[in-house]
Symmetry: C2
Subunit: 377 residues, 2 copies
């Protein structure tokens, strides 16, 4: 049975629309996943995330294995029930967090040994264990354990790391015991030959989808696009493609044009909590006009030279007496009910409501953007 | 025109039901006011507070005059519009916070000089200014500026303070220039003769309602009930009575029995943020049975000897694997959608969603309690 179907392709770019079938329902691609690190999208409820248009959320294996731990998740009957989210969930393998958060880590062939950033306890995460945890979570889309090298990294290290990731990918596939989707992660840093070699290796192993990993780790954005130009043509047409950890609105659009179907990023939620809000730009006459222009002119020729959005820093004093909504074109709870002046006041007085309203707004913006992208293809 | 009407009195106690007419609608008494210190009930939206059954909220003059300041409130067209709350608002005079929060304060006949706890700036709050600010806020129920002495306090200080409060009350009434309600505040510490003298002075001046101030400041709870037994009989039947800053569920019930109509307290919201949740007790068979017993047996003879509620400390490890709702008898968003295990996890991982769900639960409990009290009278 085919889990992914491309239903439309753009004429002037590699962009495509599709439908991805998961154990918890169908998802329209391209899509963006709000991040629910510890089983909650920070400050908001699953119900609210759904109302913003989220089709799927992303949770972190590393965080959940340490806290609350698998006995708690098992007792609840899986992550969906635990957090009361009935839609699909993608979980990462924990690999990325082991490398970015844990104090001490030792990479072995068997897996990666690490120390919890919470209590210093020692753990061994193997490809098999990462799959087992994700199956316990009940993840709809599981990721294989990989090593994600920093940028820049020497070619010899990148090659060694890539080879390890391949053997782990093979073991992950073997350990996979349920019917949920399992995705491979392609590495190779910014080296063209490694990138192409690795994607071919992973496609040979065969996964339900393919992630482009090791990007958005500090490399120049043009490098990122270049890697996509190398990797995507090597990927099968009939499998979804996931660019991990990306990104800014314009980066998402550029990646969609290069054939990517899936995204996740902390940017909308983290920025919200710091008081940076996304506002549709006026040059394109707002969301509707933007979509219309896109549809009419095709994705590639859309006038993105002009900024189609602005970042509004609500703590700035110029918003003190500004009784307009953050974005008059936005239909979120914040913009429908409160002024810039009030939101600024909530931020300045450290009222937790500020974080929540800003989060809903930015998540709404990102999901709206994805909707426009889908309409535009 | 009569703003307050008693519609029912209890047979066995001084408890009464009534209706209070404000510029933003009618309120059923006795009622409880969730606290929106800086123009927001911490972590939740006005819409949610309303859904919990809140008829009115309380905001703090002291906090709002310092931040965001009156120009911002004026620009928004008043506090109701600023915070998007269409129901009634009671504001305190700022007196209590001047005494409890500001670093330096100097009491003069003209008013009280204080230093902002935020930036050290100096301010003079006079009875006239307190009224003016509250009128700018658009408060439905305004409080006069008073001095609230600590407990214990010498009789001579209590008398002096009380006399000042009386002259301020006279000036407040004179300064009152709109049609919204203005309440006097009776003081006198725990001295019977002072209490009776002061309430008579204030009734003579004549206000739309009367608060019993200077309680819940550290005195034994029996003293508090005693003061109510002295003061309430001196108050006119046809004016609402407000016990400021009270309190625990059983204290509210005891005060209602003594003829009090209005309450406010940080307990439900603050406790929620610390992980203490109110759960209806089993001895009375839950909320419905509690109300039924009350209705049948009368308020005074209700079996309150048995604890009718419990305080559940959700961070305790015994809730780690507890997949029951916090209170199976509760209809709030928390109890309808999430387990104790999940809420505990949110608290242990410092997810802001924890504070919000717990707040909604406790506010719901308190407002449900008031509903039961009204039904019981």
């Amino acid at each position: 049975m085919q889990k992914f179907k491309v239903i439309k392709t753009d004429k002037k770019s590699k962009a495509r629309r599709g439908i991805l079938q998961t154990a918890h329902g169908k998802i329209q691609t391209p899509f963006f996943m709000p991040i629910a690190t510890s089983g909650a999208v920070k400050t908001v409820t699953p119900e609210e995330v759904k109302k913003c248009g989220a089709q799927i959320i992303l949770s972190n294996t590393y965080h959940l294995m340490l806290r609350p731990g698998m006995p708690v998740i098992k007792k609840a009957g899986g992550l969906h029930k635990f957090m009361n989210w009935s839609g699909p969930i993608l979980t990462d393998s924990g690999g990325y967090q082991v490398f970015s958060l844990s104090k001490i880590r030792k990479i072995k062939n068997s897996g990666v040994e690490f120390q919890s950033h919470l209590d210093g306890s020692k753990h061994l995460l193997t490809p098999e264990k990462a799959i087992k945890i994700q199956e316990t979570l009940g993840s709809d889309i599981m990721m294989v354990l990989d090593e994600c090298p920093k940028y820049p990294v020497s070619k010899s290290y990148a090659r060694k790391s890539m080879e390890l990731t391949t053997t782990w990918a093979i073991r992950s596939k073997r350990a996979h015991s349920n019917k949920n989707l399992l995705f491979g992660i392609t590495q190779g840093s910014t080296y063209k030959d490694l990138r192409i070699q690795h994607v071919r290796e992973l496609v040979k192993i065969g996964f339900d989808g393919y992630a482009v990993g090791g990007l958005a780790v500090g490399e120049p954005v043009q490098k990122m696009y270049q890697v996509l130009d190398w990797v995507v043509p090597e990927l099968p047409e009939n499998k979804p493609r996931y660019l991990m950890g990306v990104g800014k609105p314009e980066q998402i659009i550029e990646a969609v044009k290069r054939g990517v179907d899936m995204f996740d990023c902390v940017i909308p939620t983290r920025n919200a909590r710091h008081g940076t809000l996304y506002v549709w730009g006026n040059k394109l006459g707002g969301a509707r006009a933007f979509a219309r222009a896109w549809l009419k002119q095709g994705l590639q020729s859309t006038p993105l030279g002009g900024k189609f959005y602005q970042e509004l820093r609500i703590k700035q004093s110029k918003y003190r007496l500004d009784i307009k909504p953050v974005d008059p074109q936005c239909n979120c709870e914040l913009c429908q009910n409160y002024s810039r002046s009030y939101l600024r006041h909530l931020f300045m007085t450290n009222e937790p409501l500020a974080l929540r309203l800003a989060t809903l707004h930015n998540v709404n913006f990102y999901l709206r953007l994805m909707e426009l992208i889908r309409k535009g293809i």
